[in-house]
Symmetry: C2
Amino acid sequence: MTADEARRAAADRLAAAGIVLTTEEQAGIEVADFGLGRLDEIGLQLHVYVNTDRYCAKELVLFAGQLCPEHRHPPFDGTPGKEETFRCRTGSVLLNVDGRELELRPGDQFTIPPDTLHWFRAGAEGAIVTEFSSTSRDDLDVFTDPAIVR
Amino acid sequence: MTADEARRAAADRLAAAGIVLTTEEQAGIEVADFGLGRLDEIGLQLHVYVNTDRYCAKELVLFAGQLCPEHRHPPFDGTPGKEETFRCRTGSVLLNVDGRELELRPGDQFTIPPDTLHWFRAGAEGAIVTEFSSTSRDDLDVFTDPAIVR
């Protein structure tokens, strides 16, 4: 799967779920392979609705079995780091927070404290997850795998 | 329309839009008539996904022509007051921000600065609007109409 294919497929998944993005927003969907070049296994497609200096909201799309690898959101600018709430919209996602595993299905949500290691992987149908959070600074994310570049 | 009828109708609207709430969440949908007893004209149905000391997210449901009356979110606890982003999901909503009017349709969004007067009214089909924001303190809202109790 190329990044372009992933972007188009993510736009299709969102549309099928009734989540309307503008044409411009669809074209701007970010495809993250974390610098590993194995997008089918390790990757994430995302749309950022808004990211102010107070809050952020994103739509995350994962295809079947796709993993967002272990990372944490460290403190910055006098804040304790990004706090985030995952709300599953479609499919399922296995979420691991500091070694605790839970499965989120549509209607389930979980809030991940700041600076806490977590990873998540989509189930066999893939997943759409809405993320509500404090300000997002993806450039500050600390990944456990030193090979990862965000 | 009674509050119970509004709650059930709002749950139905959300479900029809593909927005999954748990049974408990559906039963907990807040119906606000702002103390005016004219819910069909002036009212709002809402589900709060999360409201931490850093961010908040809600689903707002309005029926055809329903108005959320003019108010602002004043400063509190050393913050400038609630900043909020409205994202229209279904239907349409006329949003008035400090006298500036704009219509939001699915895929449209707008960020309302803190402490800024605004009101909004659903179009003929009603509307579902997702609200992303900083921390919400509804008890502090300042309404222009002195008859309103939130």
